[in-house]
Symmetry: C2
Subunit: 274 residues, 2 copies
């Protein structure tokens, strides 16, 4: 592989460039972003040069779309006319169903491999990019496409391992249902908790301990990012939110059971036995 | 001060003993607990010897009650007949209204100073005790009693500073209202989240990231501990829980506002400017 293009050089895109370099990739890393972002990405070594989307699509072996979700879908819609005949397209969108449906409508089946590197942070932008952002994190790939047979797919999957990430193969609909519970519901639970305290009892800060710090960390996330995620997974997120509200309403009936049940999940999540 | 007695030598009681020693206290540290706990507390150096409650009450200058909340109240009820005339009693109960009311009924006003060291951890028992458990943590004292004029109170407050903790003076009712929001509601939000995922979508573990880890850490807490806390603060906790449920129900109406509002609280909690 000689040239990789990163479309959207923010935290994820920039970290992909830095991780590629660290993993020993010796080809050219191209960035497609605003002029200001390209300057910052060049300065921190995440890319070697900037290009327009058309130039990058034509001349790269792999396109890594790391934009917000709706921007990824817009890119997919206009990519085909300039896309190189052997260029593989992958993405980093946090929901997968709508993106893979869009790709299926606008691109040949073999040229798109949907992905979701499960990494991030409160800080955004290429300034926050790190070569080790993906270490120990899961990287979901579309199970219906992962064995796409495209040579670039084989190289890309090898990089994921070299980044220290763990490949997880999932169907896009299944992915979206699981992240509704494991990621989107926790986000809403944190945002609602912080917002409820802010509205009703901001003075509670006086006695804040590590518990409320943990529980409000996600609440610092940006709405810009979450708007697209929640809009493209609204049915699954709505179902999870309803179940959470029911649980909060019902838990007074047998609090001991809820503590035992919640504790079982929390421990299992950490690989601890009961 | 020549002798301090720790009643209930668990995580908090044991850490108090270790912190006292580290702060240079050269008197005797006595433990009142089950035989098995006393053995473990002696082994890890948290206490110098075991005693019965009556012996400890008679011979100590300060009694530190670090039992579960209802056990603290039972101790307060039976303490007076054996309590030394100049012995100050303080406690580590996580709620303060019912405990201070009980103390007011059963002990002379000047002999009880309610307290709440805001420290802890998922691990319980004296085995988990650490001399630095209180470093950087708040230690709430009853604002109606802190200037009790008792010489032991002055020494005790100096120790709190030497432990690296920060004294916060609060009215017991006010304390219970604030911790309902800053501690008890986050606990219930975490337990309900973990329990809802466990009931509805335990497979979500497959795509778990750091967000859901943060949001389920508190869910590992023990019901044994929380039973007393929630029972002695049920009105305040109920009001906070209702407000949280309303917020979750209403947040779909203006999600952008909720993200901004929640983020403002989370950042303010961390001393960050907008």
């Amino acid at each position: 592989m000689r040239q990789v293009a990163i479309v959207g050089v923010g935290l994820i895109g920039g970290s992909f460039g830095l991780a590629l370099r660290k993993a020993g990739f010796s080809g050219t890393i191209v960035g497609v972003s605003s002029e200001r972002t390209i300057e910052k990405a060049l300065a921190c070594g995440a890319i070697d040069r900037g290009m327009t989307l058309d130039e990058a699509a034509e001349s790269s072996d792999l396109l890594f779309l790391a934009q917000p979700i709706y921007a990824i879908m817009e890119t997919l819609e206009k990519l085909l006319p300039t896309l190189g005949r052997n260029t593989l397209v992958t993405d980093a969108g946090s929901t997968k169903r709508e993106i893979t449906e869009t790709a299926a409508r606008f691109l040949p089946r073999d040229l798109f491999l949907g992905g979701h590197p499960m990494a991030g942070g409160e800080k955004r932008g290429v300034e926050a990019a790190r070569a080790d952002l993906f270490v120990g994190r899961r990287w979901v790939l579309d199970v219906n496409r992962f064995n796409v047979g495209h040579p670039a797919a084989t190289v890309f999957r090898k990089w994921i391992r070299e980044f220290g990430a763990q490949e997880v193969l999932l169907d896009p609909k299944r992915h979206d249902r699981l992240v509704a519970w494991a990621s989107h519901l926790p986000q809403l639970a944190s945002t609602a908790l912080a917002s409820a305290i802010q509205d009703s009892m901001p003075e509670a800060q006086t006695v804040a301990g590590p518990g409320v710090m943990d529980m409000t960390r996600l609440a610092m996330s940006s709405w810009d990012l979450w708007n697209d995620i929640l809009a493209t997974n609204s049915l699954e997120v709505g179902a999870a939110l309803d179940a959470y509200i029911s649980k909060l309403q019902d838990m007074r009936q047998d609090m001991a059971r809820e503590f035992a049940n919640g504790s079982a999940f929390a421990k299992s999540l950490r690989g601890e036995n009961e």
